[in-house]
């Protein structure tokens, strides 16, 4: 019997769901509202030098990879299952597209984290 790949994608969906439930709102608030508007946090919090320092060490790289990679796997997996709810019939092809996009985004993040510094 062929082994199913469902447990892998479901685990990544679950991990991304948990991470986004725990810290998604605070991350969106900080990077998308507080810092750009200079509200509660200074605008310079995310300046070039600080962000380069952050992604130059192993801990920073791990945080960025976990957030981008797991958010992508969570969001795209749920989006794939939503297609049924809006009346689009799904099959192996669409499944490959959605999971493939998450894999591609995660690999792109890995590549960028190695070249950035």
């Amino acid at each position: 019997m062929k082994r199913s790949n469902k447990p892998i994608f479901w685990s990544l969906f679950g991990a991304g769901g948990m991470l986004s439930a725990l810290i998604g709102p605070v991350l969106i608030f900080m990077t998308g509202i507080a810092v750009p508007l200079g509200f509660l946090l200074p605008r310079e919090t995310m300046n070039y030098d600080r962000m380069l320092t952050f992604v130059s060490n192993g801990f920073g790289k791990l945080v960025v990879l976990a957030v981008i990679g797991l958010f992508l796997f969570h969001g795209l997996h749920r989006m794939y299952h939503c297609l049924h709810d809006v009346g689009i019939h799904v099959g192996a092809g669409l499944k490959a597209v959605f999971h493939g996009l998450a894999i591609a985004g995660t690999l792109a993040t890995c590549y960028l984290l190695t070249v950035v510094g």
Binding site: I23, I28, P36, M51, I68, H74, T109
Partner: protein, 132 residues
């Protein structure tokens, strides 16, 4: 074969037929914002790798009204996702026992919400201190 005229129940706006369906769709909609936010960060990382001018242009674009509006919507919808995530946690986790008794649903949901609030406050404080 001739066309068979079977009745197909229309799907149009089925989520408006019952408030429960509406809340379900709002939860599912969170995936669009979670994915889009990951893409925003991925683009930021790419701009950072390209160098200072590219990164500063990206940072400037985050302050535009449409970007701020997107993040405000994302904040609301992802916060709702977080609440639903913890609300179903008693069903998605295996049975947990403590001293021979099952941990109540209420305790599991509260633990999730408390963990989210505490980690958010800690991250915010850490970033505030680092930005001094």
């Amino acid at each position: 074969m001739a066309n068979v005229k079977t009745y197909v129940r229309p799907m149009g706006a089925w989520w408006r037929r019952n408030p429960f369906y509406g809340w379900y769709m709002l939860r599912e909609l969170s995936c669009v914002f979670v994915t889009a936010y990951a893409v925003v960060l991925l683009v930021g990382l790419a701009r950072l790798a390209q160098g200072r001018p590219a990164y500063e242009a990206w940072r400037e674009s985050l302050a535009s009204p449409s970007a701020v509006l997107f993040h405000m919507l994302a904040l609301a919808v992802v916060t709702y996702h977080a609440w639903t995530w913890f609300k179903v946690m008693p069903k998605t986790l295996p049975f947990l026992t403590l001293a021979g008794r099952r941990i109540s649903d209420r305790a599991i949901i509260s633990a999730g919400v408390v963990a989210a609030v505490m980690s958010s406050v800690l991250i915010f404080l850490a970033v505030s201190l680092a930005s001094l």
